[in-house]
Amino acid sequence: MSENRPPDPLARLGEEIDKAQAKRVRSQPAVSDRSALQQGMGAGLRIGIELVVAIVVATGLGWAIDRWFGTRPWGMIVLFFLGVAAGMLNVYRAVTGISGPVGYRSGGTAAADSKSRWDDEDC
């Protein structure tokens, strides 16, 4: 962006762009709707896998621990339930946008509010 040209044609162009943009915003207010839909789809696609992967990975980890330490059923059982809890926690956070200590935030003011309510007590 070099600004060493005479401002007159540029200023005119700027005005024209502003005018065109104003017209577009008036004629189609659906732009924000569309980006909201996109964000919603992004969120939906990403939480679908959250629960499943958490359970599978945790259970697999438990199985591996059992193999290493010979604590046959217990590691798998305990980690399975921990995995369910962690998966649900992740899904809950992704859906509500509440960012816990390890969390997700979907952006926007609501998330910021809940974040400050949730865990901003001692910065």
Binding site: M1, S2, R5, L10, L13, Q38, M41, G42, L45, R46, I49, E50, V53, A54, V57, A58, L79, L82, G83, A85, A86, G87, L89, N90, S99, G100, P101, V102, G103, Y104, R105, G107, W118, D119, D120, E121, D122, C123
Partner: protein
């Protein structure tokens, strides 16, 4: 015909230039070729697109600027101002995944991101990087990430392992999401395209579905790159803006 009846054939890795160093197979494969191609195309888009420095951007320059601004906004809103220095990383990640996904949609090409090795490597870089950044920035205070505030000490015994687990699961969810979406989408495409080729005149119906699926896959390709990048931003934000 063999390809049409075998929807998983597209994920086969071929050695284009066989190469061995000692016992390690470092052949240049079709996957490596597609990765090279996407890196070259991204570089070409950014370098050639912004070469003219035009005040009023042409098509290519505005494409380059749009992708820059898109990622810059994403980093700004999700990480805050402290995230500016990580913009190059997020931008590289986003563009690479986007181009790998989109190039994979070209018939007879190869989808790099349908290999879990690739996506897991990307996710592991993000995970390890974010953890190191958090530790460097906050030292031991970073471990507070795993301790919820205002919780009775007895419950902490239960909650800390859960938090720890949900933190360690991040690279898996991040990689499996991208990999599964690509694998499923491309397999489905190959199955319907195979129907269209094998049942003759009636094949026009699966052909229509294939066209719709291509549109869906285009959406998924862009969306998954976006999801990967935005989750990277959120993880970075956790590590940088620690409470």
């Amino acid at each position: 015909m063999a390809i049409e009846l075998d929807p998983l054939h597209q994920f086969k890795i071929d050695r284009l230039i066989p190469l061995h160093i000692g016992n390690v197979d470092v052949s240049y494969t079709n996957a490596a070729f597609l990765m090279t191609l996407s890196v070259v195309l991204i570089t070409a888009l950014i370098v050639l697109g912004t070469r003219k420095h035009a005040l009023v951007p042409g098509r290519w320059q505005s494409l380059a600027e749009m992708s820059y601004e898109f990622v810059a906004n994403m980093v700004e809103t999700n990480v805050g101002h402290g995230g500016r220095e990580f913009f190059p990383f997020v931008f590289t990640l986003f563009m690479f995944i986007l181009f790998a996904n989109l190039l994979g949609l070209i018939p007879y090409s190869y989808t790099v991101t349908s290999q879990i090795v690739v996506t897991f490597a990307l996710a592991a870089v993000v995970f390890i990087g974010v953890t190191i950044i958090g530790i460097v920035r906050h030292g031991f205070h970073f471990l507070r990430l795993f301790v919820p505030q205002g919780v009775p000490a007895v419950l902490l015994l239960l909650l800390v392992p859960i938090e720890l687990l949900s933190y360690c699961i991040r690279p898996f969810t991040l990689s499996i999401r991208l990999f599964a979406n690509m694998l499923a989408g491309h397999t489905m495409l190959a199955i319907f395209a195979g129907f269209a080729a094998s049942i003759g005149l009636l094949g026009i119906f699966p052909l229509g579905i294939t066209i719709l699926l291509i549109a869906l896959e285009l959406l998924v390709a862009a969306l998954q790159a976006y999801v990967f990048a935005i989750l990277t931003c959120l993880y970075l934000s956790d590590a940088i803006n620690l409470h």
